[in-house]
Amino acid sequence: MKFKYVRIQGREQAINTGQGAGIFSMCWKLIQQDVMDVEDEALFKEIDSWFAEVLPFPEPCLRKERVVCFFKCENSDEMMRMITPAMWLLERYHHPFYVIYTNDPGEIVYEDEYQVAVKVPDEVQTVEFHHQWTEPDGSIHEG
């Protein structure tokens, strides 16, 4: 299955969006908390400066709106190459992260050549615990 969008985010929720914190936020947090050593900090800042030069800063993010950003897979080979060392840094510090692929990230409120910014719903959606699943013998387990 081919996907249009990809996002790297953490287990922790960003306070402004309630969604998983983005990779740049996570790395900056490790620096602010003095978790990253001086060399790794220098490496991340070099990575970050490349993105600052190449990747537009979405206006909704500048306005601190409740949005999360996804790379566009079709135009993001170079972005993913350049972000890989940042993922390595997160692994180095045992900081969990997830790589999310999707074709429907939600309501797109900003778009450029490389990324989209997606509006975060105002309400958190929850689902009840799922009581049904298929057993190995093919029968349906009813919880």
């Binding site: 050593d37 001086v38 060399e39 790794d40 220098a42 490496l43 800042k45 070099e46 990575i47 490349w50 030069e53 190459r81 350049m82 890989t84 060392p85 993922m87 390595w88």
Partner: protein, 98 residues
Amino acid sequence: MSHVIKRDGDSLTVQVFGRLDINTAPELEAELVPQLEGVSTLTIDLAQVNYVSSMGLRLLLSLQKRMAKQGSMVVTNVSPEVMELFEETGFAAILTIV
């Protein structure tokens, strides 16, 4: 001696020795960067390098970024140990390694 820099027209070759880390990378950068003016091909020879730290990776990335604007950069003679680091960190896909 931690490095030797040789210029041949618009090509520059840097031979690095030993470690490329927080102690050696800043010194190399301070000497190398001013010499990149007018350089279109930069070769980083790591034949004698046995260790690259994150500071070394930072320097390589910085040089790669600079040279992408004015020409090209290749990294040569990478040892298996350093290559393993490049692959683990994603630098194998960022750098041009020959």
